[in-house]
Symmetry: C2
Subunit: 262 residues, 2 copies
Amino acid sequence: MYSDKSPLQIRQMIRRGEFQGNTSGVAAGFVQGNLVILPKDYAGDFLQFCQLNPKPCPLIGMSERPGRFMLPSLGEDLNICTDIPKYRVYRDGELIKELPDVSALWRDDLVTFVLGCSFSFEEALLADGLEIRNISEGVNVPMYRTNIPCKPAGCFSGDTVVSMRPMKAADVIRAIQICSRFPSVHGAPLHLGDPTEIGIEDIDKPDFGDAVTIKEGELPVFWACGVTPQVAIEQAKPSFCITHSPGHMIVTDLANSRLAIF
Amino acid sequence: MYSDKSPLQIRQMIRRGEFQGNTSGVAAGFVQGNLVILPKDYAGDFLQFCQLNPKPCPLIGMSERPGRFMLPSLGEDLNICTDIPKYRVYRDGELIKELPDVSALWRDDLVTFVLGCSFSFEEALLADGLEIRNISEGVNVPMYRTNIPCKPAGCFSGDTVVSMRPMKAADVIRAIQICSRFPSVHGAPLHLGDPTEIGIEDIDKPDFGDAVTIKEGELPVFWACGVTPQVAIEQAKPSFCITHSPGHMIVTDLANSRLAIF
């Protein structure tokens, strides 16, 4: 039933505390985003980190200026302090709490970044008839740390984190075609086949999320993942930071189809 | 030096007997085509075979009506009887001779088909900095019979023949993106990875062309190949047929870049 709601309806339900779960599948057809909120002193470096690493950190929106918590470019009446079901708050790189509302923590120097997420391309793959194993098995997508370094910017650096979806070769080819149309939600895969080539030692032991079945004749396919900036932030240890809690995204008014570049 | 000639210059040199070799690399930037000439009685079925199997049989031009040997839609003063360096002539499915000119064999009921060839997408891959192993090793691309059936049309049927180029995973992804732009020259690969999945038992023993080195960490990538219609013709055993000799293509006035769909 949540899939039929509009993004605005979902955000208002979240704001009133009527929806507290993860946002997978809600407001079908609309872009959901990863959230990063940082003090102004860190924002320039983080923006450059996104610009240098567009596959793991595809920026789809940011606040117009420090202190602004309304993001009209991403949605009608979108309040970034209240419209996400679960936030994570970090001090000096340490996760200190999870909260359903961060209005009380708001400061005039905070800058908001919203990054594209894999829900958008998963929707496009499903619409084309491809199977997404983590969805059919009802688990979180498996994610792995790799040895692919991000380009550093100021205090932000680290290796790329990837998500993995196993597919038959013909589906791999089709998935590459589809995802290439969506550069602002991680775009084409980074790698396919042998996991050790990108520093993944055990495909059955993801660093984040859950393992999924890889059937005979399937190849693992690896996409740059929105956990990458979170790892960079944990390493940078900014004095203060707010992110979404995994799976609890900001639901925007942007249509997924509008992200397609051709 | 032949790479700098115009398509018209090359065709005129061929017509005068001044160029008799294979056409790989000549008139750089222009589309070269596979040739099939059949009597009218077979032409309808063959056209449908191409329409049903566009990846191995991408039709880029045909004669305006039976008996026409000038193909103005493909090139200025293009005479399909004289402008190819080496023709093959078949009777009842049997190769009976190779000739530099088929004017003496021309008949009023012959219909000409020109199909896209891999030279066009190889040029696009090279321009992007990818290595094409058969080119770096100076041999013909390896080609294999598969168990992927073509859709039959009248007397024409058979399995798909594929060409193979080995690449690292990141290059595979880029090659899929590039080749997807060129559906009229075989388009995206059909398969990658395990050759046995498409019925290829020994990757080191191609059915046509030459074996190439597959380096550690590389995946074999398989494209639908223009030998597919030749195999279908050999099985159909038409009373009469003319094709180009492998590697000796018709050089057209169409720019490769104009084949890109986006």
